[in-house]
Amino acid sequence: MSPQTLITDARNTWCPGCGNFTIQFALRNAIQKLVEEGVPLENIVLVTGIGCHAKMADYLNINSFYSIHGRTIPVATGIKLANPDLTVLCCAGDGDAYAEGLDHLIFAAKRNSDITVIVHNNRVYGLTTGQYTPTSPLGFKGRSTPGGTVEAPFNPLSLMLTSGAGFIARGTTRRMTGLKDLISRGLRHRGFAFIDVLQICASYFNASELYDRHGYDLSGHDPADFEAACRKVEEWDYNRDAPIAFGLFYQHEKPVFEDQFPHLRVASAEREKAITKILDTKR
């Protein structure tokens, strides 16, 4: 399999310099690695929301469910429930995962659905031409908040820790190698894997300088240590200037949601037998 076969011939319409190119490259390489490790390509399914990130569904030549805004995660859980042999991942925007569909993110972490969620967190709405998102810094001047936002961002990493996520990582489009590695590890993690990707938006919020100046790769951090993870995710609150760590903050394996459900195919004769049995109890 050549890397080229993973790309469709759909015309790419991301802006020049868009962070999505980096994520696409990292994701493609991670998928290729997964296939090399023995996962059949046809067993990989991508679910996307709506926004610039979501065009990934058109651009990657793999199974895809191009969903509606905010609604990647329940679809992904449904796919995994239907067929646990599938490797299911979501590409979601920060508007998708943190605003419109925040409930689903929290619940996927709570129930430990065996899916990988990559949040393209450019901290701005791009496709709707530049409004603030839940992770935009306080005072962000967007088109809906010309005087600057009056609400502080929340920290998705601490939210995920609180919600019970078993794999919590942060990458950035400014660090390709690390990002690819995190996606690979997320895809291999048994259970819910969450990767916040600080992505630059070339048109509406190019925070490259911020991420380069404050960013560093986590080292000497034990991802099995919950309390250390709690301290580490609080280092930067997505608002003030502070060191921004990239890497795996927390990893913990626990029972997987989809393992608790049956995955048998039932012959129709068996089905009718079950119906007859139930009817007999009702007489």
């Binding site: 030549n61 609604r71 239907a82 619940f107 009718e272 139930i278």
Partner: protein, 549 residues
């Protein structure tokens, strides 16, 4: 002709629904057709609950305005329902909790003597009912053995004392009819869905379909069915999308408020062609309305919910047997025609309990639409004459299965091209016509009663049984469109031809079926409408018809 109605009443939390069901089983075992109505307020404990079980020689699906026996577990049951009693109504009451003219049962003393817990008081009253109506005690034994096997001996001992404590006032004759399976509408829908090949059910609890969730969750205890209760209705329908995309036949259950949350994804099913099936139980609206009472106010919502234009299947069964059959068909049609489907029911049908009759599990069309190429790279949305493309589910070796909520090309890749927008719209329209042909072959309009009758009652959904009963006694005909989308206009015109007067009977304020008929140039001469959250009683409908006939 035997026609006996028993009201069983008590406090919420006292197991009135279960007691009423046991009353139904008594008459079922005696060879009668039964119908049970359950009336309860939206609270857990302390309010007033009652059931009315009607037993008759013929199938019935509605209550009479008067009851013949009142089984009172408390004083409220006697005080609240005086308007339902006639001169000959027999009141059997727990003499420790109520006083009345009638037969008192010393339930508390009996429980004390038998050292039985308070919860067995209902068994005592059931025993008394059997005693008063001349039903052999052996019938109680059979029923208890099957329906409440826990604490059987003690329940029977208590019931026996209740049985002996009253004098016989009726003599219910044993009829020659095998006991029929007594099912709630929700259970009938659940079994129908299973018959249709259901593999997964997803729901967030909401009256009146919560019990469908409970029933299927129970089925899943020993049958490989995936039943999920996620965080909200948005998640419910999206999980269904994911399950169906990956090949599992899936349905969801909700009521109007929950469906409001689902509409965006319902519309997505219109364009991504993932078969999503919704069991939609109506209750009194708008908004929270009367949560535990009935209504038929969501027909037009179901016909139009979701942005954009796309074909959908909407079926409105009228009784449990139809509910089972059409749930199976709806699931089957949703998959064969790749359209979203709605099984539109209401509280009356969902929670009413009747025997399931022949025809509940019809043979299903195999549903293949082997249209389009089967070789070459797989394209999910290949343009075909039927409008229906081959639906494969991942994994498909060598092919990517791409579904999309945007306008897309045949491969499922997003497009904004005008020509593709047109061809995909026309594909959807052709699918609608295919669906119309498929439903047309399944008797989408059913007629009952005398052919050539001058007057026809036109109804939809759960008003069918009461219409049938009243029409039977008045010599009217009943016509019921079961399929409401695609609207079977031609079949309905044919069914109504020759009749002089068409009267719509609906439980809403606007006459929604009548409005729909008008759009299809089908004349309706009068409408009998009811919107108090309660289903029509037999006599009530007769009176209302006399006003407009």
């Amino acid at each position: 002709m035997a026609d006996l109605s028993v009201l069983t009443g008590g406090r919420a939390g006292d197991g009135i629904n279960s007691a009423g069901l046991l009353v139904s089983h008594l008459f079922n075992r005696m060879g009668y057709f039964t119908y049970m109505y359950f009336d309860y307020p939206s609270l857990i404990k302390g309010g007033h609950n009652f059931t009315i079980t009607r037993a008759a020689d013929n199938p019935v699906g509605a209550c009479r305005e008067r009851v013949d026996v009142v089984l009172a577990l408390n004083q409220d049951t006697i005080d609240f329902h005086r308007d339902l009693m006639h001169d000959g109504t027999v009141v059997i009451f727990d003499s420790g909790k109520a006083t009345a003219d009638g037969q008192g049962v010393p339930v508390q003393e009996i429980l004390k003597t038998e050292q039985a817990p308070a919860v067995m008081g209902n068994s005592c009253m059931i025993g008394a009912l059997a005693g008063a109506t001349g039903i052999p005690f052996a019938v109680i034994e059979e029923i208890f053995r099957k329906q409440i096997p826990r604490g059987l001996e003690k329940n029977l001992a208590v019931a026996r004392k209740g049985y002996a404590s009253v004098k016989q006032v009726y003599r219910v004759e044993q009829r020659v009819q095998e006991p029929l399976p007594l099912l709630s509408g929700n259970e009938a829908i659940g079994l129908g869905l299973l018959h249709g090949g259901l593999e997964a059910f997803v729901a967030y609890p909401m009256t009146p379909t919560s019990n469908l969730l409970h029933f299927l969750a129970g089925v899943a205890e020993d049958y490989p069915l995936t039943v999920v209760h996620p965080e909200n209705e948005i998640s419910v329908i999206l999980m269904a999308h994911g399950l169906a995309y990956a090949g599992k036949r899936t349905a969801v259950g909700t009521s109007g408020g929950g469906f409001c949350l689902m509409t965006e994804s319902f519309s997505m099913a219109g364009t991504n062609e993932v078969p999503v099936v919704v069991v939609m139980g109506q209750r009194t609206g708008p908004s929270t309305g009367l949560p535990t009472y009935t209504g038929q106010t969501d027909l037009h919502f179901m016909l139009h919910a979701g942005q954009g234009e796309f074909p959908r299947l909407v079926v409105a069964p009228g009784d449990a047997t139809q509910a089972s059959a059409w749930s199976a068909r709806a699931l089957s049609l949703a998959w064969s025609c790749q359209v979203p489907a709605i099984i539109l029911v209401d509280k009356t049908l969902c929670e009413g309990i009747t025997p399931l009759q022949d025809g509940a599990f019809p043979p299903l069309p195999d549903g293949g639409h082997p249209d389009g190429p089967t070789s070459g790279p797989y394209r999910r949305y290949t343009i075909t004459d039927s409008g229906i493309s081959r639906m494969l589910h991942p994994p498909v070796p060598g092919s990517a299965v791409k579904v999309n909520s945007y306008v897309h090309d045949e491969a499922g890749i997003t497009t904004e091209r005008a020509d593709l927008t047109i061809s995909m719209t026309e594909k959807r329209l052709r699918k609608g016509e295919t669906l119309r042909r498929e439903t047309g072959a399944l008797d989408p309009v059913v007629s009952f009663g005398r052919g050539g009758a001058a007057t026809t009652l036109l109804c939809w959904g759960s008003t069918l049984p009461v219409c049938r009963e009243v029409a039977g006694s008045l010599g009217f005909r009943v016509v019921q469109p079961v399929v409401l989308s695609p609207f079977p206009g031609e079949q309905l015109k044919e069914a109504l031809s020759g009749t002089e007067r068409v009267i719509a009977v609906e439980e809403n304020a606007l006459g929604q079926l009548r409005m729909l008929c008008a759009r299809h140039d089908i004349g309706v001469d009068a409408a009998v409408l009811k919107f108090d959250g309660r289903p029509f009683a037999v006599e009530e409908l007769g009176r209302r018809l006399a006003e407009v006939a």
